[in-house]
Amino acid sequence: MAMRKLLMCGNEACGEGAILAGCKFYAGYPITPQNELTAYMAKRLNETDGVFIQAESELAAINMVFGAAAAGERAMTSSSSPGISLKQEGISYLAGCELPAVIVNIQRGGPGLGNIAPSQGDYFQAVKGGGHGDYKMIVFAPASAQELLDHTYLAFDLADKYRNPVFILGDGLIGQMMEPIEIRATSDERRATSKPWALTGCRGRKPNIIKSLILAEGALEEHNKKLQEKFNAMKSVETRAVTHNIKDSDIILVAYGSVARIAKAAMEKARARNLKVGLIRPVTLWPFPDKLIGEACARTKKFLVVEMSSGQMVEDVRLAVNGRADVEFYGRMGGGIPSEDEILQRIEALA
């Protein structure tokens, strides 16, 4: 089929990725800077005979998604940082009940109400499990409108494959920015996934029960072991990262999402000044590309992590490096965006 090319903001691209993936249910609550996504889903689900609900709260939205997922439908919710905090209980229940769903966070500045400028301050919440209990989610870190579409599209498959929520961690910068996107797939290509566990009424089968309350002695530990096996399976095959010039670099930058684009520009400027600088961009924040970073330590002894936070992903980089190289950090907070020149200055100071 012919490829379609469109100009869209990242939030809309995310919504289109969901529609292409066969998402038929969306519940959300207004919050900036992700409102274009909610409005886009309202429009597109109406056109595609799906269900859109503007929920009374983030709590209701994530639990409507829980219900839709339990009924076997491809379902999504989205919000921005404070709203995602409210969804954490529901995300934990989705993971505990092994229900597939896609959750999008277009991050804004925090803590508290913060502001509506882009931020990466929710890394710990997304990656380390913002809700209660031992669970993990695949966390995508799109760096463009195109990736917001592609990652969201893929997220629905992975959610169904693992029966686990999948998380998209974007920020206000890529959510709001207009960019050309290419649409390669069509929604007609989606094939219905068989979900024999779903609640559809027990005609012709034994009743299905969906629950995370497991009281019998030792049974919850067994359930957790099963979940951990699943998370380990994800870890072995779902780690994704993009690298630039890491074979011959004295300094490797590590950055994700929109910041990785600025870091790449800084890397190119540094290279023009004959500084051997490379870039690792984790595309999944969980599973984290720790093996890739660990291997890079054999050649490179300096890492510079750049984030729009006080330093969150840098902890995972340090764990991956494990003392084999120096790990420096440069971050901006509360809506501040690191510039190419700021990053370049840090590179020059390290060189």
């Binding site: 009374e56 209701a60 409507m64 219900g67 559809t200 009424g201 027990c202 029960i209």
Partner: protein, 285 residues
């Protein structure tokens, strides 16, 4: 009480030593034990609805949950919808309702029960979706969800069990605890000045145009239980006929955390609770 023992509406558990049950509490009892395979069962020769599993229940002696579970199952059987029905169980004493109901069931996070039911019903409008909620689940932590589900006119059935305490967590004050009632967190009795007023959430819901059928019933006597059965029946019928949101509040006994015998608890509903929470149809469209 004597009359109730003969009634076919008795809860799924057979006769038990009430004093012993109250003294021992629920915590030391197994959650369920597989009963005999044949139906009819029970020492009274009572037959079970097909939708109700043949298991011993975990509820305390004199608790109303068993009766209400049964009334729901009878309605489901009468409509022949067991293979279409999807239940949403709450957090509270009835959290493991799925151990008793022989049809598709999910649990919901505390209070989010109507939101979960909304998600299911919107995806599967041809199925029959109901929530089963206690007073903490529906009238405290889930106030927002029930009001908005009613206001959207979701075509679901809500069975709201009001026993005026948090049973599962040890008898704390509920939003529906009556003035002066002693609970674990109101040791001197509920003070209206300090804790506010018992919430009449059904009357609140009744003013919403989206709510089509609103009735309060009780299971403290055989006669009232028959009325409760009719109300639950109607609440499912409303959904089957696509008429919109229905809610039935069932006043129910909690002898354990009321510090009473089952008979005293049934009398308390008749003499006290139903005075503040009057029985009957509040709205029917």
């Amino acid at each position: 009480m004597k009359k109730r023992k003969k009634s076919s509406l008795r809860g799924p558990k057979g006769r038990s030593n009430l004093k012993k049950e109250i003294a021992s509490g629920a915590s030391s009892r197994p959650f369920f034990r597989k009963g005999g395979a044949s139906r009819p069962r029970n020492d009274g020769g009572v037959s079970l609805p097909a939708s109700l599993r043949d298991v011993e229940n975990h509820y305390c002696a004199g608790c109303g949950h068993g009766i209400i579970h049964r009334l729901i199952c009878e309605a489901i059987d009468e409509f022949g919808i067991r293979e279409r029905v999807i239940g949403v169980a709450p957090v509270g004493c009835a959290v493991i309702a799925y151990d008793y109901w022989d049809f598709d069931v999910t649990e919901a996070a505390h209070g989010r029960t109507p939101a979960v039911a909304t998600g299911i019903k919107r995806v599967l409008p041809g199925n029959i979706v109901f929530t089963y909620q206690g007073d903490g689940d529906l009238a405290a932590i889930g106030t927002s969800e029930i009001i908005h589900a009613a206001n959207r006119g979701e075509n679901i059935t809500v069975i709201f069990v009001n026993n005026g305490v948090y049973g599962m967590t040890g008898g704390q004050m509920a939003p529906t605890t009556l003035a002066g009632q002693k609970t674990a967190t109101t040791p001197g009795g509920r003070s209206l000045r300090r804790e506010g007023y018992p919430l009449k959430i059904l009357e609140m819901i009744a003013v919403l145009p989206g709510a089509k059928y609103v009735e309060r019933v009780s299971v403290h006597s055989a006669q009232e239980t028959l009325r409760a059965k009719r109300a639950i029946h109607k609440a499912f019928k409303m959904q089957i006929d696509n008429k919109g949101f229905s809610i039935v509040e069932v006043l129910s006994m909690c002898p354990t955390y009321w510090g009473m015998t089952p008979i005293q608890a049934a009398d308390r509903i008749k003499n006290e609770v139903s005075t503040f929470y009057p029985l009957g149809v509040i709205k029917s469209c």
